[in-house]
Amino acid sequence: MTSAIRVRNLSYTYPDGTVALENISFEIEKGESVALVGPNGAGKSTLLLHLNGILHSSGSRGAIEVLGEAVDPKKVHEMPKKIGIVFQNPDDMLFMPMLADDVAFGPINLGVERDEVERRIKDSLEMVGLAGYETRVPHHLSGGEKKRAALATVLSMEPLILALDEPTANLDPKSRSELIEILKRLKDEGKTLLIVTHDINAIPELADRVIVLNNTVIADGTTREIFSDTEMLVAAGLEVPVIMQLFEVLQAFGYPCDVLPLSIESAVRNLTRTIENGDGHIHLHIHKHTHREIGYARSKYQHHADVNHSEKAT
């Protein structure tokens, strides 16, 4: 079976000598939804821009294949059919005077017929909940609307793979959940997704697999495998979803939970099952080790506290 994305020994050094990517290798199957996480400056966005050949230069080494074909920097204009990249800042993606023109920009460049372009404008805007916004001026949209509009400008090219750079960053809770819903729908429709994100709490809903990047791939596994590796996460400056941390604290109170839930949905299922098994009750208690265990569970991911302690120590 042909992979959606195959990256082999990719390295990239910026012209100023900064090493952004070092010997990166991974493979993403068609229909997979993968989260790419890592600290700031880990090379996540740089990696994304290599996937359609935009950033490929003399500083790049290694090979990238998208849908079985090697990415050729000379054929960058052919890549949008295969992979659509949604940039982090929507203002970089919405450059036309009217939203419909922005959504039509990609399909027109791909040589799509006029009627088909009109259908795609309608469908893409509908898909992101912006139906009727065709004549709106991009700089008048709210932050959340801009993010969704930027996604629509890529969806209109109907790429088989979608790569998104921090889609939920800088959004209010409502806009964030709207965007997550759209991405979940795309995932359910079988679209291959590669999502660069710092939004750890959104990952269990959006991705089946997580790649941890810090200039090189330091971990690659299912969402549960990655979030179970506390040591690696702390070393990479990351943490687990809040719901998982809460259930770790509950465990210290004696809550019976072998598999920690990663999302609200699985937490609800877990609680329901526990209550049903406990004849309508949950039994929590405090014993002599409880506070120590709670302290341990809470301090596991507190990076800032560690920094302060070490500063005090010095």
């Binding site: 821009l49 359609n52 935009i54 950033l55 960058v76 204009h77 052919e78 890549m79 949008p80 659509g84 990249i85 940039f87 800042n89 203002d91 970089d92 993606m93 450059f95 036309m96 005077p97 009217m98 023109d101 039509a104 920009f105 990609g106 027109i108 460049n109 791909l110 006029r114 372009v117 009109e118 004549t135 991009p138 700089h139 400008t153 890529v154 090219m157």
Partner: protein, 257 residues
């Protein structure tokens, strides 16, 4: 923050608003060329009146148009003053020992009238259609793509840059900066503008990457279609015809006499 939107009143209803965008651009551009090459001060004044008549027909709020004309006055009025004081000719009046020549006032007034008429026409043209419509009409009129794209990006990102400028200016105020007429303030303003240029450059690179990732190869297109109706041809011919008649009135008068 108020943005300098040129198409704020594009949704009004007037014969100029209904005018086909391509015909409007051609007609108004022709008028501008006809008006700026006028040598006769009387004709320049008539042209100015003609331009204002078109502005009134367009029903654009006069305050909106005059507000956008202020920068033009900043350039034109000094010319009027300098010409009046520097062009040699018969003395009209003497102010504080400096002679104001009749020819100087005449040339200055001519230039001012031409400039105001041209800007009034340009604002009437741009203010009566959405900016995206102007861009699409220019594409259809086969104006070089690079030129149209430069216009488009300038207009699109001027709002973003203004927003960034005001944010940085606010941040400076929050850190106690007060704009005074001294070297330090000027140096800080210089830093701010420099930072804005760096940010604009970096944004331009990002926008370019975003365009390439959407298959851009340098030749933009549009799916919009405009339909020229008979009334558009009639309006275009009437306006340009009137302007040509005005331009040739002296020739006609001499032939008649």
């Amino acid at each position: 923050m108020e943005y300098p939107e040129i198409d704020k009143y594009a949704s009004l209803k007037s014969p100029i608003h209904k005018f086909d965008p391509r015909a409007k651009i051609l007609t108004f551009s022709s008028l501008i060329f006809l008006f700026v090459f006028v040598d006769d001060i009387l004709l320049a004044t008539i042209n100015l009146i003609f331009a204002f008549t078109l502005l009134l027909i367009s029903r654009l709020p006069l305050g909106f148009v005059f507000d956008r004309m202020k920068p033009v006055f900043l350039f034109v009025l000094p010319i009027l003053v300098i010409m009046s004081l520097t062009v040699e000719g018969s003395e009209l009046v003497r102010i504080c020992g400096v002679a104001v020549s009749y020819e100087g006032v005449r040339y200055g007034t001519l230039i001012t009238a031409r400039a105001i008429a041209a800007v009034t026409l340009a604002l009437t043209m741009l203010g009566t259609m959405r900016f995206d419509t102007t861009i699409k009409a220019l594409y259809m009129l086969k104006v070089p793509g690079t030129l149209v794209q430069m216009m488009m990006f300038t207009y699109r990102y001027i709002f973003v840059l203004l927003y960034e400028f005001s944010r940085m200016r606010r941040a400076m105020s929050c850190k106690g900066f007060v704009l005074k007429a001294n070297r330090y303030a000027l140096s800080m303003l210089g830093n701010l503008l420099g930072m804005l240029i760096v940010k604009s450059y970096e944004r331009a690179l990002r926008v370019h990457k975003s365009m390439i990732s959407k298959g851009y190869t340098g030749s933009p297109g549009t799916i919009t279609q405009f339909n020229m109706a008979v009334k558009d041809y009639v309006l275009a011919v009437s306006i340009i015809g009137t302007a040509i008649l005005l331009r040739m009135y002296s020739v006609i008068l001499s032939v008649v006499s």
